[in-house]
């Protein structure tokens, strides 16, 4: 088993990056690898509850986040600074994520066999 760390850095809509990374996470989960998912930069917007992108030609990417736990993805983290600088708080999030400092995220990355960022 390898440790794969995924850095979700893009806003949920406007590009396909959030969905593309999510697909990678779920595929790796099916193969029962150790997965760490870190939301940072604009990626923290993916965690916001109550999203409604129905005015866009886009699916609600975040709707699939509660399914992560069913796939065994329970190591979910967020960058506290990214959340704070965007004026967001833990109470607005769709799923629980462990708040981390930049140093803690550095350690998560250092502990990984592979890191993917989108």
């Amino acid at each position: 088993m390898k440790t794969l760390t995924f850095l979700a850095r893009s806003a949920p809509h406007g590009t396909g990056k959030a969905k593309a990374l999510q697909d990678m996470v779920l595929s790796a989960a099916v193969f029962e690898q150790k997965i760490q998912l870190v939301f940072l930069d604009d990626g923290v917007y993916q965690l916001l509850a109550g999203q409604d992108p129905s005015a866009l030609p886009a699916k609600n990417v975040s709707a699939a986040l509660p399914a992560l736990e069913l796939y065994g993805v329970d190591r979910v983290f967020l960058d506290a600074d990214s959340l704070q600088t965007r004026g967001l708080g833990d109470s607005e999030l769709l799923i629980p994520a462990q708040s981390c400092t930049a140093e803690e995220i550095r350690l998560l990355i250092a502990d990984s066999d592979m890191v993917f960022s989108l």
Partner: protein, 128 residues
């Protein structure tokens, strides 16, 4: 090692960097387990692309490199279909007018990417 290419040729530096990296890695004696083309990276596998004479034809260079070294080059099926990169089978299945995938590439799913992660000691991404 394996490579993941996210960037389209012509619009992202990543595709060209990946090709240069792949050539350098092979020249240095490294083994390439798999090339996995994902999202806009599938455009690298487009056989119908025509480049201006004074620009590097990345599509042709990828195809030549893959053929020369018999590399395992996979394009993600979901990414490819959405961008009109179709092999004969997919073109027939969806009743489209042409085949656009260069035959040195295979169409498959993200499982091939996970497999590459498990069997490579390095996986390097390009094009983000």
């Amino acid at each position: 090692m394996s490579l993941v290419i996210h960037g389209a040729p012509g619009t992202a530096q990543g595709a060209q960097s990946a090709l240069n990296f792949c050539q350098a890695a092979l020249q240095s004696g490294h083994q390439i387990y798999r090339l996995f083309f994902y999202e806009d990276g599938v455009h690298n596998a487009h056989a119908l692309a025509v480049w201006p004479q004074d620009e590097r034809d990345l599509n042709a260079d990828w195809a030549a490199l893959i053929q020369e070294h018999e590399l395992d080059a996979v394009v993600c099926v979901a990414s490819a279909l959405k961008r009109g990169v179709l092999n004969q089978e997919e073109s027939s299945r969806y009743d489209k007018m042409a085949v656009s995938l260069d035959p040195v590439f295979d169409i498959s799913g993200l499982g091939q990417w996970v497999d590459a992660c498990l069997h490579s000691d390095r996986v390097v991404s390009f094009g983000v």
